[in-house]
Subunit: 388 residues, 2 copies
């Protein structure tokens, strides 16, 4: 492995995140109670007087609440800096944008790296680690709902997000329909497929197989399962890109001399992937990765509604905007179409667009003008309807 | 990891393989000489008096020479037992079928687990390990050509194989055109794509990251990098299947209780993948896996011919049968079409079929009657042409 790997195989630095703490905690789908419940979040723009201009952005597996500002660990721009901001498609001159670190995450919300508490909420002097209970997408949404009440927002103008963020959008629309005026599930599906579960399981096997994982108690040893987490990131990263995107970016270009060699990083694509792995471990917690991937795997909205997806949206008045990307093979367009058919069966107000892009799943994060125009138009239409 | 993993984390048992040994060795593309050169092989059927009925079957990345008989390590049927045998599509009542363990493999041919030798061919008392030189697909084919001379076969009636086996077929047709009457490259491509390289690199990173790999010298410690090799197999295995095949086989079925849990193997697809990983380590060597995946990554037939694929086949008289499978996303039909276009540009005799199958890349190994009929017909046609 590159030298940077061992240098980085250290616990994440401590960062103080803005958060709301709810002493009474949250009961999860698995029956466990997390108390107190910490919800780390960020807001962009200004909430108007009647609190009608609030948009909730839900982040993906490895995203966080730092949507449109410098990231406190990486020093890089926010993950949706090209979409959220003054004059941008999600215009913070007009809207108040909220983003919450998901339950089970590692950026300040209750999750594996946070101090463990007992049933009475007393700190036990060590992190939760793998004792953090199993979390579902619905649990994540319930935690966000607690913050919503705390912020005295009665209804989101819109809830939107891509990938796992889109799963949260669907769960919001199904669980709190009255609280969601408009919903934009992007590059997602109503359930995680067998292939998606399989790729996640490879990542988990890599983490479990790293002796530095130490049965999940790596924090006792001042180390982290850097190599396992890096491999998990590498395989996931491939699924975020299309073959076309990889070919265009790297093709079969060799690094340096073209000599036949056993050396690592012979091809540029390998060097790129290893870089993705080694930077990821500096900002993400391995036990959070296990927790959140499992939450995605469990997601099956139809199963929560008697096996009929349309039942999740029965009687909804939420207006939906569903978007997929043509080269996304992790959440292919066919799965968005299934979702649209269910919304149609529930007589929902839904528009659907498949964006032509060769950038794969990651397209929802990248410069895709057609997508940005469509999303911006959807939000403006919703705002005008509400007179915001 | 399952308990079976640690039980199996032992060196591969010793098996005596049938092989030919060439004292003068083989010079490889990288400039190194492997001497002596050991070529482990198996034959099925009977070579006729004028040696015109010989068919060479080339195996894939994790295959071996045990095509149509019980495997000496796993006790399972040969990997193409459904295709090769008396009365089967590759009919051993009529043809003499030869299969060679590839150079760099771990079933008796020269490769990382075999005893290392010095420039004079003297055994150095330890395995090659990662000191085994880098191997190319062309090197593998050259080693097979040595065996061909040894067997006094002047021309193969046909050379055929799927996946990496198909790469060898193409290399045979390009390097020894006069020795190949008919060629069937199946479910393959003329080069390894950036995405394919990326998936291989994940597997290599998992092996390199396993401390039991010990810089490639695990044989000194009586252990093997079982967890890393298992993860490598898991991710590769996903690429061999289609999403449809995974969904049909497993869908989102849970194992046992459906409780939300951190336990491993919650979904059947996970259990299946882990099983694939843990059985693989009992029959394959990690350093061979590194060597052979690298050989596939290096494969770029056009690059060997001035960047023009058609040049590889200029003036060929070989008759080609190219087959792809509609749901194969590792070697998609588009790559077979590129190959067919190059063969057309070289005015080659070529037929092409895309088999409708939802089984993914692995379809070439499975029961696909349309494929078996087409392959059998191609071979019979070639045999009739030669009067065999």
């Amino acid at each position: 492995m590159p030298e940077t790997m061992s240098q980085a195989a250290q616990p994440l630095p401590h960062v103080t995140h803005q958060r709301a703490v709810f002493a009474d905690g949250l009961m999860l789908d698995c029956g466990a109670v997390v108390a107190p419940l910490a919800v780390a979040w960020r807001g962009y723009g200004r909430l108007n007087a009647d609190a009608t201009n609030a948009i909730l952005v839900c982040h993906a597996l490895t995203g966080d609440q730092y949507v449109a500002e410098t990231h406190p660990l990486t020093g890089k721009p926010g993950w949706w800096d090209n979409v959220v901001g003054p004059g941008k498609p999600i215009d913070t001159d007009r809207f108040y944008v909220v983003c919450v670190n998901v339950l089970g995450g590692c950026m300040g919300s209750s999750g594996p790296p946070e101090p463990m508490t007992d049933a009475e909420g007393r700190t036990l002097g060590r992190p939760w680690g793998t004792d953090f209970p199993s979390v579902t997408i619905r649990d994540m949404v319930r935690a966000q709902h607690r913050l919503m009440e705390h912020l005295r927002i009665a209804r989101w103008l819109a809830v939107l997000g891509g990938s796992m963020g889109g799963m949260q959008v669907l769960e919001w629309a199904a669980t709190y329909p009255e609280a969601v005026f408009a919903a934009a599930p992007i590059a997602c599906a109503s359930h995680h497929s067998a292939q998606n579960i399989a790729f996640h399981e490879v990542g988990r096997a890599a983490i479990h197989g790293d002796p530095e994982w130490r049965g999940g108690r790596y924090w006792e040893h001042g180390t982290v399962p850097a190599k396992g987490l890096s491999v998990a990131r590498m395989v996931a990263h491939i699924t975020y890109l299309s073959e076309q995107a990889l070919s265009r970016k790297f093709g079969r270009r060799l690094r340096g001399a073209a000599a036949l060699t056993f050396l690592e990083d012979v091809f540029e694509v390998e060097s790129y992937l290893r870089h993705q792995g080694s930077t990821f471990i500096r900002r993400f917690d391995a036990n959070s990765y296990l927790t959140i991937t499992r939450a995605m795997d469990f997601f099956d909205l139809a199963a929560e509604h008697g096996g009929v997806l349309a039942e999740a949206f029965r009687g909804t008045t939420t207006r939906f905007f569903v978007a997929s990307f043509s080269s996304d093979w992790l959440f292919p367009t066919a799965e968005s179409r299934l979702l649209v058919r269910a919304l149609n069966a529930a007589a929902a107000n839904v528009s659907f667009v498949e964006i032509a892009s060769d950038k794969g799943h990651d397209a929802f994060l990248l410069d895709e003008p057609d997508f940005h125009n469509a999303l911006g138009g959807f939000l403006r239409g919703a705002a005008e309807r509400l007179g915001v």
